[in-house]
């Protein structure tokens, strides 16, 4: 350990030094001449046509002494016209008053967020994020006014997580809209938002959001540190971040949760989790994630508790079916024929008589064919989608059976598996089940149920060894935390879920005492208040 870790440490130190040097490098100062400033911007942006430079005259000098620079499309042109350009043009300061820069800063710019910029780096950062830059001749500094805006997708119902009951808004590609959607739900100053820019080229806005006091500081710190150590050129989607900060790289299971639904993020923040919001994508990451979370839907919390519990049991069952069903079929038909009732065995045997392949090959053919169909169905334009399903149903369902290539029983198994897979609420887990399924099929084909159970043990050990930001993946089932079991496979009514998840939240109690609904006590068959109503009717 010693030598190896020492060299690692040295490397780390060197890296740190490098970073420090980069940070210390003074960025070029802004020249004082307006012409130089404008030329410099033009040169840097390569005369890009969407970088608009509007020269204006404010003072009494003959030539233009100010310029407004903004990038068309990502800035709010109405705000720029009304509150910047018009305001500058209409303002005629009396001669010999204070310097133009100060007037601009204090009197003219009618926008909320105005900052002073002293170097090029920050200037470009503001400019490229949609802010307007106001340059003043003779000043070595510039003003930036927040005019971010431009065309954005409006708030729509999220496509990936549909609910029957529950709010209809979903995240958009704009980080500000997204944070606003969350803030509207948690109107509390303790909802903290930290921003950072990640991606040496893209300079993407990445925010972490958490509720101070509920989220555990260690976990927030861990998230912050992991984000800070990212060195990459671009962040185009939250998936980039996910891959860079997850605990275990080699696993098919997601250790971060992603969602398009603000209500889900709000709910998770209230449980003490941390949200990572990335500009440019509607998918918000939530950390730490636990396995059981992927089997929960927001609707569980809005609907009745008993029904939600039943549905969650169903989902767990579904997950196992989608992993094990084809494997179990293979195991039963090639190893454990004694398991099934004679009549059923005879029926399956009759179907298999004509099939020229061993059970494994048969299963593989069908599974792969189905995966192809599914992939085609997802990537195809909507209009062609129905054609694919017809071809799939006809070719695979009908023709393959009639041609004697596969047995009807196998078609049933594949269909059940496929539907089970679709029914898993979280796509991230469903897709890993798809992959694992093939492993189980091979295990079943070589060792029958012994292979399957070994596979299940490996899977269990693997899941138990996973952690998400230090939290064991299978919490609160293994390790067992009885106080948190109310929101796992079972979902207790709101008044009975008294505690927040212990491993990643601070204030544990979330529901007051005696919150169980207490309707007025009836007298025998007659309810006091209702009785009065009855009398009134007479």
């Amino acid at each position: 350990m010693s030598l190896f870790s020492l060299s690692k440490k040295i490397k780390k130190l060197k890296q740190l030094k490098k970073q420090a040097q980069q940070n210390q490098q003074p960025s070029k100062a802004i020249p004082s001449s307006l012409l130089d400033q404008i030329n410099s911007i033009k040169e840097k942006t390569g005369n890009s046509i969407d970088v608009v430079i509007r020269k204006l005259q404010l003072g009494d000098s003959k030539g233009p002494d100010t310029a407004v620079v903004f990038v068309e499309g990502i800035s709010d042109s109405k705000a720029i016209n009304d509150f910047l350009i018009e305001s500058i043009m209409n303002n005629h300061p009396s001669p010999n008053s204070r310097p133009i820069y100060d007037i601009l800063f204090e009197k003219v710019v009618a926008l909320g967020d105005v900052k002073e910029i002293k170097d090029w780096d920050n200037l470009y950062l503001s400019l490229m994020s949609g802010e307007s830059i106001i340059l003043v001749d003779g000043e070595k500094r510039a003003l930036s006014a927040s005019t971010r805006g431009g065309e954005q997708r409006s708030i729509e119902e999220p496509g990936s997580q549909v609910t029957v009951r529950g709010p209809r808004d979903g995240f958009t590609e704009s980080i500000r809209t997204n944070t606003a959607l969350i803030r509207r739900r948690i109107q509390n100053p303790d909802l903290w938002l930290e921003n950072m820019k990640i991606g040496s080229v893209t300079k993407t806005d990445v925010s972490i959001m958490y509720i101070k006091g509920i989220a555990k500081d260690e976990i927030v710190e861990e998230v912050r540190n992991r984000l800070k150590r990212i060195e990459i050129d671009s962040i185009l989607e939250s998936g980039y971040i996910e891959q860079l900060i997850e605990d275990q790289a080699f696993t098919t299971f997601p250790t971060l949760y992603h969602t398009e639904r603000p209500d889900m993020v709000a709910g998770n923040l209230l449980e003490g989790r941390v949200a990572i919001i990335v500009n440019g994508t509607p998918f918000v990451l939530i950390a730490p994630a636990v396995f059981i979370q992927f089997f929960q839907s927001v609707e569980d919390y809005y609907g009745r508790a008993d029904i939600a519990t039943a549905l969650r049991f169903l989902r767990i069952l579904i997950f196992f079916i989608s992993i094990i069903a084809p494997a179990a079929y293979i195991a039963v038909t090639t190893f454990h024929q004694e398991m099934i009732p004679t009549q059923l065995l005879v029926a399956i045997a009759a179907q298999r008589e004509a099939v020229p392949f061993p059970a494994l090959v048969e299963a593989l053919i069908m599974e792969v064919a189905f995966e192809i169909l599914r992939e085609a169905g997802i990537r195809m334009p909507r209009a062609v989608g129905s054609a694919i399903s017809i071809v799939g149903a006809l070719v695979i369902g009908q023709a393959a059976v009639q041609a004697g290539i596969v047995s009807p029983a196998m078609v049933i198994i594949v269909a059940i598996t496929a539907i089970a897979n679709f029914a898993t609420p979280a796509f991230a887990v469903a897709i890993s089940a798809r992959l694992i399924r093939f492993g189980f099929m091979f295990a079943a084909a070589t060792f029958g149920f012994y292979g399957i159970i070994l596979g299940v043990i490996i899977l269990a050990v693997h899941l138990c060894s996973l952690r998400s930001f230090g939290v064991p993946y299978l919490t609160p089932i293994a390790p067992l935390i009885p106080a948190n079991l109310g929101d796992t496979i079972v979902r207790l009514p709101m008044w009975a879920q008294k505690k927040r998840p212990r491993l990643f939240s601070n204030k544990e109690t979330r529901v007051g005492d005696n919150q169980k609904p207490q309707p007025p006590e009836g007298r025998g068959m007659v309810n006091d208040t209702l009785e009065k109503g009855d009398q009134d009717e007479q």
């Binding site: 398991m339 043990i457 490996i458 138990c464």
Partner: protein, 367 residues
């Protein structure tokens, strides 16, 4: 020692899975005829006492594992030697359990498969689990515990509904007096499975709540004893004394008898699934104890590195210790329980406790 933290519930689960492990497979205490369940309960009482001995020793050295306190109690050389003996015992026991399992699988489901392959597959899974550390094994245990209990209770209900149990098979109680039962107790059930509780002294230092560990441990042993006794009583109730004793795997024969609603029958696969899981934990815990002891004695920083070579040794041992199943059983019953177990599982721990008591008497009594 690794950095790990075991909760009381995890300890409970591990003890239960460990005790049930292979004991539930074999015709345990069948020499006591229809009173086998009684002999098991006696064995359980012995197990409770042994657990108390190990726990007491642990209280004297709450931060140390047995190889360490053996060195403290007996001196460097003698302690190391003794600890080394225990490593071999643990590995041998792991190999025995693995062999039991392999034989079971080969006898009833995988007749044509070589023993080595069946054992190797399970051993690889065990190596994988143990290399992840005791915490992961414990958590996996929690996960499977409920599953096993669910299977067991379902099985029990099905046996009940099939109308297989004939209580008359358990009568007369104590036909030939209590002596045969006592003999089975001190020749068999005391050591297997209850004396094997000694492996848990390797896990004690990881327990977070050390005070309550005793209660939980005793409860777990008690429950496992009751479970085993019930299982054996059901076996005898269903199969009768003669068939139970003649069966290599009585529980399997019992389960094969289930016939409910013309559909729920031929459930051997579920028996296989639950045994694979139980055996997995039993071997894992033995194996972990061996690996952890070795790491402590030879001061190896990363115990997980030992898992692969030691696992291979256990694997080869499991295949070579006997040439036939009969020989394997004979070895276990005649040699190991008669000459090895009384010495290592009972005598030495009690002696160590005595020495620890004498040594610590002058200083302070344990909390």
């Amino acid at each position: 020692m690794e950095k790990a933290n075991i909760s009381l519930y995890q300890l409970f689960v591990l003890i239960l899975l460990f005790e049930l492990g292979s004991a539930i497979l074999v015709p345990l205490a069948s020499d006591a005829k229809q009173d086998a369940w009684l002999a098991i309960l006696f064995g359980m009482a012995g197990g409770l006492f042994l657990f108390w001995v190990h726990y007491r020793l642990f209280l004297y050295y709450p931060e140390l594992v047995p190889p360490q306190y053996m060195q403290k109690l007996l001196g460097k050389i003698a302690g190391t030697l003794l600890a080394f003996c225990y490593i071999i015992l643990f590995m041998y026991s792991a190999a025995r359990v693995l062999r039991d399992f392999g034989e079971m699988l080969l006898t009833f489901a995988y007749l044509e498969t070589p023993l080595f392959i069946v054992n190797a597959l399970l051993m690889l899974v065990i190596i994988y689990a143990v290399s992840k550390g005791i915490e992961v094994v414990a958590r996996t245990g929690e996960l499977f515990f409920l599953f096993i209990y669910f299977l067991a209770i379902t099985g029990f209900i099905l046996i009940l509904f099939s109308g297989l149990i004939d209580v008359n098979n358990l009568k007369p109680i104590l036909e030939r007096g209590i002596l045969p039962v006592v003999r089975v107790f001190y020749t068999q059930t005391l050591y297997f499975p209850f004396g094997e509780i000694i492996v848990f002294s390797m896990i004690f230092p990881y327990i977070a709540n050390k005070k309550k560990a005793k209660k939980v441990g005793l409860f777990a042993i008690g429950l496992s004893g009751i479970n085993l006794a019930i299982t054996m009583a059901i076996n005898i109730g269903v199969l009768g004394v003669d068939l139970t004793a003649r069966s290599q795997f009585p529980l399997l024969s019992t389960i094969q008898g289930i016939q409910v609603a013309e559909f729920l029958e031929r459930l051997d696969v579920f028996f296989m699934i639950s045994t694979v899981i139980c055996i997995f934990f039993k071997v894992s815990i033995y194996f972990y104890a061996a690996v952890a002891s070795t790491a402590v004695i030879f001061k190896i920083k990363e115990p997980s590195r030992l898992t692969y070579p030691m696992g291979m040794v256990i694997l080869f041992m499991s295949v070579t210790i006997a040439s036939s199943y009969a020989e394997h059983l004979k070895e276990g019953l005649e040699f190991v329980t008669r000459y090895v177990h009384p010495f290592f599982l009972i005598l030495i721990p009690t002696l160590l406790l005595g020495i620890a008591f004498l040594k610590n008497r002058k200083k302070k009594s344990p909390q």
